[in-house]
Amino acid sequence: MATQFTRMLAGRNTAVVLASLGAGTLATGYLLTDSTAAAERRMLYPPSADFPDLRKHNNCMAASLTPAIYAHLRDKTTPNNWTLNQSIQTGVDNPGHPFIKTVGMVAGDEETYEVFSEIFDPVIKDRHNGYDPRTMKHPTDLDSSKITSGVFDERYVLSSRVRTGRSIRGLSLPPACSRAERREVERVAVMALSGLKGDLAGRYYSLGDMNEREQQQLIDEHFLFDKPVSPLLMSAGMARDWPDARGIWHNNQKNFLIWINEEDHTRIISMEKGGNMKRVFERFCRGLKQVEQLIHERGWEFMWNERLGYILTCPSNLGTGLRAGVHVRLPNLSKDPRFSKILENLRLQKRGTGGVDTAATGDTFDISNNDRLGKSEVELVQLVVDGVNYLIDCEKRLERGQDIKIPTPLAQFRR
């Protein structure tokens, strides 16, 4: 198996290297394969006939895609033959909601972000508050020792969690991957994870072999992922062949977990009950570094470049791909009309305790960072630490009948 892949990688190596250097058009031309008849058929319809009707749409793709950009990009393909139409299908099929602006497009492989940069760059800028991939560089920093005041008052913070994603360079992403590629991602990841030792040692549970009781247990513990039902993911083809090559790995202490082949190749999660975010982040960084080391030993690496940081399926997760958050009780603050503004200025977001698109149960909220790109991992976790401490302080003040202040808004990017 490994030799087949090294051979294949060698063949694609130049394209991959070109792509990671940002030389999009060279990479496109390098390995283009296409049936002439099918290509001719496509030409029967000019791009204007194919341009999607986006008048009722509210997502980043619809806001940025113009007929001119579409015409320019429609007939291009990445070296894996992924097309623009495939990237935007999810945004066309899901017009969105006036109050919630989704991204509306996905990447099929690493080169997508280069070949279709004409549409991806403005979408990235829109989603990541002005981060300009053409001119800016993304900082990566996984030195957890830099975090200060990272232990929260456990009368308020029930649990702490940090997650990110990593993609394995050379294999297509979940919207595009074939069954064989997906199985290869699983194989590479599981082999690497089996090398973890000490408090990180653990084992793998393939979704296909799990029984329903085990599965429900893992969901209730907030460990497992379901077959996607969200049309945002379904329309992007991420549920194909379910549950083939999907699974979850976790360490024996159940505080370091990896999801395999859900919305990204891998999602890495460090979590524990209580408020010790510093320890959660320390384990997160240590685990990530060890996993990266283990895949390097076998000739693999993560998708990363200096423009966009870590490359993931959804543009919203570029950069750090990091969401650091807590489940925190805020019975008084959550009823205060200034709550949303405080969160906004602290660059935090709230979710229900079931994750994205769920509602809060009782007064307990999932509070996490808004940003992913343009700030490093350490910066984002510190931002969450400072922000949550501020929220707890507000909660305590309101308990005592004191007034609270809306904090000044945090700066977007350091230049």
Binding site: P46, A49, D50, P52, T77, S178, R240, D241, W242
Partner: protein, 381 residues
């Protein structure tokens, strides 16, 4: 289909065993027929429009099915799919259509005068009568595969053809895009309109892409003849009315269909048809006539009879709920229609419905009077 030929050549770098889907938990026709040998033989092929084997089978891989319900598990992306992927589709067609062989020929008969009777189903029991079929327009790829440009071209051509009809067929087109929610709800309640597909059988095959772009419904002023544009097939043609006059419904169906076909032919885009498979449609289950002729009929007593399903089987009929496929019956009212599509003509299939429903209503009346119906149970048709 988005996941089509663009990635297919790259997949060939992987061995067959690595790409072959895990069908161990599956119960559909595709899973029964597909072997590694067939997969290996067909996986590097594509139709002229670029449709591949994985496109054909994806819906069957993603939907393992149910132990009691055998779905087809594959779709065609264009007319040529049935040729290029013969080695997979012929055995599936045979399985689904009662042993239909690759050498068999299908008879088409849309002469409504050949139907015997059908105008006297008791309206106290038969609440409504309906005949539907599908048609694909030659020169365009099918709903799982077509691009927005193609879908809009199909819509444009269909609207041109339909709006030129006159007499009892005079009507108008309602594009889904510009329908108000109120209009839409009304049409659904009238049993006229189709929803955005939610069934994973359809969504996994890519048929809901770009919804509602290029979709719409045309109906005549009398609301007795309707055409769905760009749902699961290019066109679904439906004739219906309240009561039991299936003969009249079938007449209108045949006349309307012939008129539409003439207009499409004039534009050099006739219907997809061949003498082996009859009318070519997206799902292999609808090949042949693509015809489902049925009634909504009250059979509260007969439906609880121990032999109800056996009776239906012998009459070559099937039951559904009044919401259509995959719904349950409400208040003892069933949707009863022909089970066959391929290997018998339109007239023959509607004849089965007419005769079978007539018999079942007689049986229902007997059961109401407290009499036994065992002597009336028919032989296998």
């Amino acid at each position: 289909m988005p996941f089509g030929n663009t990635h297919n050549n790259f997949k060939l770098n992987f061995k067959v065993e690595d790409e072959f889907p895990d069908l161990s938990k599956h119960n559909n026709h595709m899973a029964k027929v597909l072997t590694k040998e067939i997969y290996g033989k067909l996986r590097d092929k594509q139709t002229p429009s670029g449709y591949t084997l994985d496109d054909v089978i994806q819906t069957g891989v993603d939907n393992p099915g149910h132990p009691f319900i055998m779905t087809v598990g594959c779709v065609a992306g264009d007319e040529e799919s049935y040729e290029v992927f013969k080695d997979l589709l012929d055995p599936i067609i045979s399985d689904r259509h009662g042993g239909y062989k690759p050498t068999d020929k299908h008879a088409t008969d849309l002469n409504f005068e050949n139907l015997k009777g059908g105008d006297d189903l008791d309206p106290n029991y038969v609440l409504s009568s309906r005949v539907r079929t599908g048609r694909s327009i030659k020169g365009y790829t099918l709903p799982p595969h077509n691009s927005r440009g193609e879908r809009r071209a199909i819509e444009k051509l269909s609207v041109e053809a339909l709006t030129s009809l006159d007499g009892e067929f005079k009507g108008r087109y309602y594009p889904l895009k510009s329908m108000t929610d109120a209009e839409q709800d009304q049409l659904i309640n009238d049993h006229f309109l189709f929803d955005k597909p939610v069934s994973p059988l359809l969504t996994c095959a890519g048929m809901a892409r770009d919804w509602p772009d290029g979709r719409g419904i045309w109906h005549n002023d009398a609301k007795s003849f309707l055409v769905w544009v760009n749902e699961e097939d290019h066109l679904r043609v439906i004739a219906m009315e309240g009561g039991g006059n299936m003969r009249e419904v079938f007449r209108r169906f045949c006349v309307g269909l012939k008129r539409i076909e003439e207009i499409f032919k004039k534009h050099n885009h006739g219907f997809m048809w061949n003498e082996h498979l009859g009318y070519v449609l997206t799902c292999p289950s609808n090949l042949g006539t693509g015809l489902r002729g049925g009634v909504h009929v009250k059979l509260p007593k007969l439906s609880t009879h121990a032999k109800f399903d056996e009776i239906l089987g012998r009459l070559r009929l099937q039951k559904r709920g009044t919401g259509g496929v995959d719904t349950a019956s409400v208040g003892g009212v069933f949707d009863i229609s022909n089970a066959d599509r391929l290997g018998s003509s339109e007239v023959a299939q509607v004849q089965l419905v007419v005769d079978g429903v007539k018999l079942m209503v007689e049986m229902e009346k007997k059961l109401e009077k407290g009499e036994a119906v065992d002597s009336m149970i028919p032989a296998q048709k």
